[in-house]
């Protein structure tokens, strides 16, 4: 596995330059995202943490092309500036909720993006079926979402995201609603999948352990208006086994990040509405 820090010469896969998002007009203006600069190298797994309500999701919507950033900043994909809405269909985006369609079988939920792209249903199904064992869903092709557990539903949503074959994947707290045990299994499983498929991943979480365990780089956002507070390159060796979270190296990183995140979280409590 190449260490992303050793290849700075390559064009970043995704680059955010001075990205802002303001809502409303001047006196009552709310700034959701302020002056965000971020670059993600090809094939890297970048995790983003920050206090709740810090504008993470707004930032994600902008990267996904669902929300235009304010005109003073720009978004670059593989070095090319993306105008409003140009990102739609270019990245694989997985929101917090699984958002499966209740009237579709698991198989047809997985092929949704392929169908939207115009792939014939048969071909799309064949392609998805091949992935079922790897996603731990073998034998559940013809089930409906309401028959699955939360962890399985999340894997179906992840499969849908992976089948939408884009080099850049955005994951918005995909394991946020799962219990701790399922969550840690899903994390290891995601790393396996990522190692096999080599996509660039931007992963939002509010769990510091998760951010460090998964990431090549952890990006910390400030309290609202959200901006990048600091970036921490994680050099823990891969593949990472669950025991890594108890190593002194891990603890040292966690301690450092915890201090930063706590400081920001306290600000959201102290904030007095104007």
């Amino acid at each position: 596995m190449p260490d992303p820090t050793t290849v700075p010469a390559a064009t970043p896969h995704l680059q955010l330059v001075n990205v802002w998002k303001r809502f409303g007009e001047e006196p009552q203006q709310t700034i959701a995202v302020r002056n965000v600069d971020l670059s993600i190298e090809p094939g890297a797994f970048v995790t983003l943490i920050g206090p709740s309500g810090c504008g993470k999701s707004t930032l994600f919507s902008m990267i996904a092309g669902l929300l235009p950033p304010d005109s003073d900043g720009s978004l670059l994909l593989k070095g090319k500036v993306q105008q409003d809405g140009a990102m739609l269909g270019k990245i694989a985006f997985m929101p917090q909720r699984d958002l499966l369609f209740p009237w579709r079988t698991v198989l047809d939920n997985a092929t949704l993006a392929l169908e939207v792209e115009g792939m014939p249903r048969r071909k799309a199904r064949a392609k998805a079926e091949a992935l079922f064992p790897e996603f731990g869903l073998g034998g559940f092709e013809q089930h409906y979402p309401h028959q699955l557990s939360g962890g399985m539903r999340q894997r179906v949503a992840l499969m849908r995201t992976f089948l939408f074959e884009r080099d850049l994947i955005l994951l918005d707290e995909p394991f946020g609603a799962l219990d701790a045990l399922t969550r840690s299994m899903m994390q290891r499983w995601l790393l396996d999948i990522w190692a096999k498929h080599r996509r660039t991943v931007l992963f939002i979480t509010h769990d510091i352990d998760e951010a460090i365990f998964l990431g090549d780089k952890v990006v910390v956002m400030t309290a609202r208006p959200g901006t990048i507070k600091c970036e921490e390159v994680i050099t823990l060796p891969r593949p990472r086994d669950p025991g890594v979270v108890t190593t002194p190296e891990f603890m040292a990183i966690k301690k450092e990040l915890l201090a930063v995140v706590e400081e920001e979280s306290l600000k959201t409590f102290a904030a007095v509405p104007a």
Binding site: A64, G65, L66, G89, L99, W103, L112, V116
Partner: protein, 251 residues
């Protein structure tokens, strides 16, 4: 065996049997005058005596009802979609439709008969007029339930407006459209019967009007049973359709 018996005892068919038994027993028991409620055997005998007319009338009214219902559903779904797609359409047309619904169907029926004469078309139009409103309102309501996050997801896949509609909005709205259709089917039947009152020679509504005119009380009760059977049949068919094809609910 006892399980299936108790299940049978609670089925919709059983409740019909209970009513029939109550009718059979209570009328002689309380010596109810035939003018208020004739004995069930008399009602059944009356039905048998006019059986060919009854069958012909049943078919005619059924055809009018079904045609009016289908046209009403098509129009209702169409307007529901148009309303959800355009605020201007909703602002312009929905109040008119609400106002139309307050017009007594008798008044509207008179106009329809002037337009279409004593044709089957007149009955179909009256049935349609009653059927389309609940369908339009429920279609609109169903389409408004579409989850904005699912829309965002589809857009992130690069979905077109048509794909958004066919793959997301319409399936989300279907359970509500079915609710509208269940309301509409009963109204269609009422519309077809009222339509027949304006003049025709065949149909349950025609027979009902004649029975009222000649004070044939058992005939009136027999026709009430026939209309009830038709309504139940149509509603049951829709319920089956729903259970088979539209079993999900918007979450």
């Amino acid at each position: 065996m006892s399980m299936s018996l108790s299940a049978l005892a609670r089925s919709p068919v059983a409740s019909i049997v209970y009513v029939a038994i109550a009718w059979l027993v209570l009328v002689p028991l309380f010596r109810i005058e035939p003018r208020y409620l004739p004995p069930l055997p008399v009602v059944i005998a009356d039905g048998i005596s006019v059986w060919p007319d009854l069958v012909a009338g049943f078919w005619r009214t059924l055809i009018e009802t079904v045609l009016g219902f289908l046209a009403g559903v098509a129009l209702g779904v169409g307007f529901g979609i148009a309303f959800s797609a355009s605020r201007i359409m909703e602002r312009a047309f929905l109040p008119i439709f609400v106002a139309l619904q307050t017009i007594p169907v008798i008044a509207f029926g008179a106009i329809v008969v002037i337009w279409f004469g004593n044709t089957i078309m007149a009955k179909v139009v009256i049935a349609l007029y009653l059927a389309f409103f609940p369908v339009a309102v429920n279609t609109l309501r169903g389409l408004e339930l579409v989850d904005p996050q699912r829309i965002a997801l589809m857009k992130s896949f690069g979905a077109s407006r048509l794909q958004l509609f066919l793959k997301l909005a319409l399936p989300t709205a279907l359970p509500n459209i079915l609710i509208g259709m269940k309301l509409a089917v009963a109204l269609s039947l009422a519309g077809a019967i009222v339509g027949e009152w304006f003049g025709d020679t065949v149909g349950l509504g025609v027979m009902l009007l004649q029975a009222l005119y000649f004070e044939q009380i058992p005939r009136v009760w027999m026709l009430i049973i026939a209309c009830g059977a038709m309504g139940t049949l149509l509603y049951g068919a829709l319920s089956l359709l729903e259970r088979r094809f539209v079993w999900w609910r918007a979450d």
